[in-house]
Homo-oligomer: 216 residues x 4
DNA sequence: TATGAATGAGAATTCATTCAT
DNA sequence: TATGAATGAATTCTCATTCAT
């Protein structure tokens, strides 16, 4: 069907939005795969199936593009976190659920890990320059505080647990295992990403977190 | 003291070794700071105070140099690990000591974290190509197995703990916190590297590990 | 005439073609003068008056550029060969004409000789990788077969002459003399490129070829 | 057997000569394979199994080394030419013998062809700088003159043949075929270096030369 | 909005050559 | 005579970015 009239403004806006989304996704994959330093604008354009010039048109330069990708990655995970209804669960179950969610999210979004690595390699410069950094604060910290408080009150949890520390620990247990799985697999000569290995890891992490938090 | 005779062969060999060591150290810093993709051979030469050509003379190319740096980094940490006499301590103390050691090593060697990140970004390709990958296997796994066994026998530890999982968890707790400290600080608006914060983290991690492993 | 409207797509295409042609010509001269190994991409860009990067944009790398130059050189000579209407001449005259054409073409296109030399130094690797190698087959071989057949039939030529052998011999007589004229001049202390010397050579070559092919 | 006394002066001279010869042979092969521009001093040292520095010690630089290689190549072929006792043969046989010798020499010494090509690419600059250029004059020219004269006198050869032109033609017939065999094979899709093809070529060349020179 | 052509600065790597015994 | 270490100047090639429609 050939177009016989000029596209309406609204339609052109839709095209533009779509192009930006396409670029963002392509850039995310490229940055995830090669890091900020190793990513190539050419390849991003190619992945997106769009002209390189257009990337500059929408995102100004490579750094800004990376920043946009990072912000998007945070928006995505935060959105998923928001969907978690942890407060509907009993405290211990809520923690198990959180460990599981974190693990599964990282598994499903390996690019999130490498993007985070890249961001930190650059000392989070891109976040600091982002006006939205604060929006990236996880809603989970507050949820976690509430869960811990409930658990303490019902006598099942120990007291004095810092939700931020716990959040970092939960993330760290999944993160290190997955982010370094290649290195670890090479060194230990053991496939850490087999279904069995993954199950074992999840069980272990739940045990660690609950072992720590449960009163006895 | 000015030299009045020609250096012996042995001495020139020492010069060569020294040059290689200098290059390796310079490369380690550069790779740690900028990642593999962002590192510049020019800067490495400059940091080393040696001619760029010499790097190629000894290390062939950037990839091989990175591999050499990685191997050296592993040798360094393994050497420190070897010095730990964990078996001289009571099981619980041994675990505390290990958490502490890991934390302090990462603090003292931040380059180790970024090198590890870079290595994994490249899917541990450099390790796989290294003949020495297996030598990088941590002696700690076996030590840890022994400690867990002793603790189980004396009734203080729970049973069924996989030493490798535990090793990964101990590393992960420190690693994530330190590797992502910039991002986390930016998002949470809290300085995670103050003396106080670091103390709190160490305490927390010991609590987590021992909470998990101790019988009650 | 200053341009007052934007160039059409078609016109920009012509610009691209023109740039490629300019590069090709510059490269041909550089390769002819210095050989493949001695040619410098910088100099080619300079000769072409175009940015070095553009060479890579269009031709990928030095090797591919050389291949393109070689293909062009063959296209050029084949085009001239096609214009020869040898079959309109009597057999003996046709052979004389061919010897003369070969000689004059090499004289007018000394770069063809050195390009051929370079190609052979590299064992014709560039031709083998060219999909168009077969298109470079000279139309002269068939023409020559026809001429020899006619001469044999009219009783003036001997029989059993392989047109390919004869083609190679005709080329070789000119080629060696011109390609090695510097060496030969140096050794024999005689200027082989004076007008007189060139005339003598052409006469000699015609004598050799016709002496061979004519019945008595 | 370990040496227990210092080598005599004479013996050291022998070592030195041997080293120079080894270098020269290695350089000849390298230059023949890659041309002057493509040859690598490193590879020459490696081929020779000697330290690169030694090459400079004996030959000053790459250009001078190439010149030495070239001179040696000429010395070698001239030496073989000297062994030819053409004047012991009947004129026609002598010419056949010469065609055959040239062909076989080129076949046995393919490096001679590429060295000649390289020398000419550089406009014989290396020969002109050589004091021995004149010594490289082939003894064959005079022999050829004598043969032609004898043939003319006994009525078998035509008169007025320039020995230098004939020499160049004889060389050219072999040279072009062999020097460009890769290109020709690629273009004509015919293996020019099979035993059969080589026999045919030799027969053809003898026919051409004798067909030209014989009275009828 | 979209694009092919073009570029300057820079990056990895190479190379002939010299140093210091 | 012989050698391993070291170097400065290229050289090929890459990259983010801009031009001109």
């Amino acid at each position: 069907m050939t177009r016989d009239t000029a596209p309406a403004t609204e339609e052109r806006q839709r095209d533009a939005d779509r192009s930006q989304g396409t670029i963002l996704a392509a850039a995310r994959d490229e940055f995830a795969e090669h890091g900020l330093g190793g990513a190539r604008m050419d390849r991003i354009a190619e992945r997106a199936g769009l002209n390189k010039r257009l990337i500059y048109y929408y995102f100004e330069d490579k750094e800004k593009l990376f920043q946009a990708v990072l912000e998007q990655a945070y928006r995505d995970i935060r959105e998923e976190e928001h969907k978690l209804r942890l407060l509907d669960l009993k405290p211990a179950d809520a923690l198990r659920r959180l460990v599981e969610f974190t693990w599964n999210y990282y598994l499903a979004h390996p690019e999130f890990l490498t993007l985070l690595n890249s961001a930190n390699l650059h000392r989070a410069r891109h976040l600091q320059e982002s006006k939205r950094a604060r929006e990236m604060n996880s809603p989970l910290i507050e949820m976690l505080a509430e869960i811990l408080e409930r658990g303490r009150k019902d006598g099942s949890f120990r007291g004095g647990v810092d939700p931020l520390q716990l959040y970092v620990s939960i993330a760290g247990l999944s993160y290190f295992y997955l982010s370094n799985s290649h290195t670890l697999s090479a060194i230990f000569g053991r496939d850490l990403l087999s279904a069995k290995a993954k199950n074992e890891r999840l069980t272990h992490m739940c045990d660690v977190i609950l072992g720590y938090v449960l009163r006895n």
